[in-house]
Amino acid sequence: MHPTELDPAASGHFEQFGIVPEVLDQVMRAALSLGATDCDLFFEHKVSTAVALSDSKVNRASTDVDLGLGVRARVGDQIGYAYTEDLSLPAMLRAARTAAAIARSTPGLAPVALSPIHLPSRYEIETSWSDVGMDKRVPLVRAWEERAFSLDSRIEKVQTSLADAEKWILVVRPDGRMAEDYQPMTRAHVVCTAIDGDVRESNSYNLASRAGLEFYSDAERIERMVQKAVERTVFLLDAGKPVAGDMPVVLAAGASGILLHEAIGHGLEADFNRKGVSIYAARMGKKVAPDFVTVVDDGTIPGARGALNVDDEGNVPERTVLIENGVLRSYMHDEISAAHYKVAPTGSGRRESFRHHPLPRMRATYMDPGPHDPAEIIANTKRGIFATSFSNGAVQIGAGDFTFYMKTGFLIEDGKLTRPIKDVNIIGNGPAALEQVDMVGTDLMIDEGGWTCGKDGQGVPVSQGQPTVRVKSLTVGGE
């Protein structure tokens, strides 16, 4: 177990680097020295380890240590940002003064005494990764490989890997807020190559969570991971491509949350809206989807890859209802956008590392369950595709056009799943696609995979989920 609430008498994890209240006060004063109206100090210490198997040998490992401070000085919505990997006081003061230069007046704000804020506990773990030696990791990736080979004789090669990270962050604000959080993460990956005659295909499956070593003691979970990696690979051997064009698309429950992420999620990040460059900028309070569509971005799901006890600006993340019964209710806010809209931050201010400034970002984005039986959704589709797994997506925020890449799926013909299909890009327009959601299943599932969201050159871990959903028409890139 790791503490998520600081004892005011202790300086926490970063004390070992000389980060004590007096130092924090000095650095904040430097960041505010030229008249900035606010600032934040973001300390990060991250230790990552990965071990990988290929050619039936556990023959590769890596470790990375990232340590540093990012200083942001703000004047309204203007920001000065600097970082340093050197946590000596002179280096931190230099970074703070560099960031401070966004302002050009006399200091008006002085930091008050720091006080730790109470944080929830959304990723309690039993075995911390720093207590896990290489000798514990190696047998895991070997067992996954052996199981994969045993499942199908067409499997030609298997690669497995286990990655984990422990990240400590400390966010300090001049209003006295101080939040330290321990953020574990782990990800397991099984990649298979299968061969059948002249056809060779490769595919994979992965699991991710804010969890410790105990995550891998769930035999059912591990079996599911390996089976899915194998099944998804051999599936490709017999799959073809659909005919190109517009058609109904039924999205299987789970990772199809990528539709929400791309078609809706990014467009509801408040920075794009306060600048007026999102297609959703003038739609707050308006009907944007059928009544049975409720979309949420949630930082509170225990153990989820997108879960957070505190965001990277020192706010406690919440469950944010973005679209409620078809009506647009909220954007995802960082502090700059929250001030612009005169609302409370939603705890969505996130950054990739101390080298980056925070932005409004998604955490775990999903659609609440709807009224339709998933089997009925397929049965009611005369002709279309059923998309079951996905690799990536993208969106144009202003135009609203989005895509996601379907790795595996089926043709739907006369209400039945028929031919297996693969490797097609699906494109649509966000608001139009939302309006065209005509069936939502009862079977919400949050995907267990390791999704990473990219924005403005920064990647952050996210989760996504969805029940089975039908969109009346999207453009499918087939033959």
Partner: protein
Amino acid sequence: MSLLDSAGAAVELAKGMGAEQVKAWISTGVEVELQQRQGKLERVHESSTLGLSVSLMVDGRYSSHGTSDLRPAALKAFLQRAVDGTRYLEQDLDRTMLSFEEMGSLDPASLDNDDAESINKRGPEERQLAIKELEDAILSGAGEDLVSATSYLWEVRSQSAAVFSNGFQATQARTHYGQGGMVTLKEPSGKLPESYSFFNASHFEDVPSVAEVSSDLWTKADEVRNTSQGSSGKYTMILDRRVASRILGAMISPMSGGNLHTGRSMYLDKLGQTLGSKAFTLIDDPTIPRGMGSKPFDGDGRKAKIRPLFTEGRLDTYLLDLYHARKLKMEPTTGGTSNVIMQPGQRSWKEIAKEHGRAIRVTSFLGGNSNPASGAFSLGIRGQLIENGEVVQNLSEMNVSGNLLELMASFEEAANDPWLFASYRVPTLAFTGVQFSGS
């Protein structure tokens, strides 16, 4: 302590802990980025950075590591953990490094990609004036449909030193200067299409003027106004020079040792075969002065050299680093590309398109992916419908799909407009009979 000395000290430290082979890289850099919108600075980002990477062989076992915590005691503990952890792995002697005699480097000065003098040419005030000028130039071209215009300016200098335990030592430094802009436009439909233009160069003097950036940005903005979905069908694809790297990169990726070794390559057993059309010739040239991908040596420490990738459609080489070459029992080449070059043709893309009746000019990609094992690809696009060489409709919400091997065979001609502001120095490319999906 110099970078070379620091890297050398890390090598000695790791050797002293029991590593028999060590490669160490120290890198440092300074970067400045400015972003301006609506007449004021939106963001100023200025930092310096320092980091160490090492790869180790311990008892024939391999691992790699990186850290930004370079305090002596922390570094020592970090390396000790790295060495100790490596002992739990299995032996893989294919990771053994080359001998000193097999390594080498071009003279970094011959690449002329370090314009160090210009990095301090402008102070904060001058940079703020420069981005104001850029914003003014962009706004001078704006129409009533402008919603937002953001201007960007950046300067980056990075230096690195490599020291290997076999005595190999090398340094390199490079700079990037650039500027650009992004505009969001308003359409009656409610859509807010975006357009952008960015230029990146290794020398300050090679960055186009603010007037050129503005002109280019507004030319590109014309391509995204009032888009609609075109009809599904087969068209000649005119692949714009700035985005051709997306397709060419997907064609090159399966040449890598990693993909070949794991069976994820459409080129397995096809080395030396003619796969593309006669017009399809690509080379990799790391030696180009001021080239954005130029480099004096590769990741294995071998001297960089020019290498044909495809000649008249024939697959000339795999991209094999030492490790994967040994796994595949082949001769190593190099682990990746540097500057990918296709020689320009004689005609403009419009002249080429005129011969093809109906064509789609792809100006940007949106998402999508490709399958390196089968060559299947499917990508979202924006572009223009071209009839007899003239633009008749701006397009969006369309996909282009097919197989990369078939696409390579359908390559017809390169235009005369190579793009020189990226590591893919290629002109606009024409492919025939390409499947697009839309309405």
